[in-house]
């Protein structure tokens, strides 16, 4: 089992990164850290996906010299999906950072617990 983990080292690292990101997002109180945690989580998923498409000894899926056999290129699908995913995650981070700035202007802090407590005291 351990040897299998070592053979699939890319996936293993992706899983570890996913869990690091996940725990940062849950445990860290600072909003910025939560956002970074979320980004790490997303990149971990993309790493997992892209490592699935990799095949040893094959090259980039760009047709060279008219060679079009399956044996020559790696799987293009994961790369395409990851490309889409990266755009999604940059949009999400931009939105969250904008929200951070607004919250900071209002509450002068980025500690989420504190912000929630301060907001609770405001009038409805």
């Amino acid at each position: 089992m351990l040897s299998k983990l070592l053979t699939n080292y890319e996936e293993t690292v992706a899983v570890i990164l996913f869990c690091i990101g996940f725990s940062t997002m849950l445990l860290n109180k600072n909003l910025l850290k939560k956002i970074i945690g979320m980004d790490i989580m997303d990149t971990a998923v993309y790493l997992f996906l892209a490592s699935q498409g990799y095949i040893k000894g094959r090259t980039v899926p760009i047709v060279v010299d008219g060679i079009q056999s399956v044996e020559a290129y790696i799987n293009p699908i994961p790369a395409g999906l990851v490309l889409t995913g990266i755009v999604v995650s940059v949009s999400v981070s931009a939105l969250m950072l904008a929200l951070c700035i607004r919250l900071y202007y209002r509450y002068n802090t980025l500690n989420l617990d504190e912000i929630i407590a301060l907001a609770g005291k405001e009038e409805v």
Binding site: L5, F22, L27, Y54, I55, P61, V63, S69, Y73, I101
Partner: protein, 332 residues
């Protein structure tokens, strides 16, 4: 207390440098408040005093609020339970996912389930069917174009929400308070403008054309080489950002305003949607598409993919620049 003396001196010196730099800005800021210097005080000292007073007040207020918040019944027990629960969830998840990883085929081996007839067709017939030499581009902009249309929409949605959150309108009174706090915050960027930094401007003069040229290359060659609309657009956006950092917003307004942003994104996204409309409609109804695919490998080939790449490039450039501008000073 064991800090060496030279370190203290160095720190002191650094602080002085930073301070003199800030003082120039302070002066403009405080001048508007019409405060007279106290007796026996130079102007310099007065600005420093006022600033320190303001800071102290601010910090005291924050400290007070923190104290209030702490004295409320923040139960440490529930926090502990929460942490323990999170750790438990994480450990369970890592175990389950690790186990899943062990059941997968080996890394780098060709017998993954995903290497099936789908990817085979992309590789074997992609060039003939889409005209794109770069199979990944052909896949995301032709075979799975619906996803990619959704992706551009995500970017558009995020841009709208960010503009909604951070754009300041002089017209509305209700949020003028926010506008004031953003524009007059001690370190707001409006105070830094225009700031003629010779080194930065020289570097930007050389770098900006190169970066933008690279971006254009990456966009236009999206179907031939690695890259495409999104990465090229991000590079061009970075070029614009460098330009604006060096020369200021007043300069970039000559050719890029909020209206430009709106119109470019509108045209690009509408073109994108319209061309996809055409290809989806013809595809589903079995009508032969009249758009020629051209010679593979030529720059003017692969039908709509080139147009789509250019559209995406424009959308991304403008959106990235808009993010930067709106983050920095609340307007595009």
């Amino acid at each position: 207390m064991a800090t060496p003396e030279w370190f203290g001196k160095f720190k002191h010196r650094m602080a002085e440098i930073v301070e003199t730099e800030n003082d120039v800005l302070e002066r403009d800021m405080v001048r508007s408040q019409e405060i007279e210097p106290e007796k026996g005080e130079t102007e310099e000292e007065m600005y420093r005093r006022i600033r320190l007073e303001q800071e102290k007040q601010e910090e005291e207020e924050i400290a007070k609020r923190l104290h209030e918040w702490n004295s409320r019944n923040v139960s440490k027990v529930s926090r502990g339970v929460y942490c323990a629960l999170c750790v438990l969830i994480c450990v369970t998840m890592i175990a389950l996912l690790m186990y899943t990883v062990t059941t997968l085929p080996s890394f780098g081996s060709p017998d993954h389930p995903i290497n099936n007839e789908v990817s085979a067709r992309y590789i074997e017939k992609g060039l003939q069917e889409t005209g794109a030499v770069n199979i990944v581009t052909g896949m995301i902009l032709d075979y799975r174009a619906f996803d990619t249309l959704g992706e551009s929409t995500v970017l558009f949605t995020a841009a709208m929400v960010v503009l909604f959150l951070l754009r300041l309108d002089s017209g509305s009174e209700k949020y003028s308070q926010l506008a004031r706090s953003m524009k007059e915050a001690p370190h707001a960027d409006n105070f830094y403008e225009p700031r003629h930094d010779a080194i930065l401007q020289m570097t930007a003069k050389i770098l900006t054309p190169i970066i933008i040229l690279l971006g254009i290359y990456v966009v236009l060659n999206g179907h031939l080489s690695p890259g495409g609309g999104f990465s090229g657009g991000a590079i061009m956006g970075a070029g614009l950002i460098i330009y604006v950092t060096a020369f200021g917003f007043a300069d970039i307004r000559r050719f890029f305003t909020y209206k430009t942003y709106q119109r470019v994104v509108l045209c690009a996204l509408l073109t994108y949607a319209a061309s996809k409309c055409y290809s989806f409609y013809t595809g589903a109804n079995g009508i032969h598409s009249i758009i020629p695919l051209g010679t593979p490998g030529a720059i003017l080939s692969s039908g709509l993919i080139l147009v789509l790449n250019i559209c995406v490039g424009f959308i991304v450039t403008c959106t990235m620049y808009a993010f930067y501008a709106v983050f920095r000073k609340g307007e595009v």
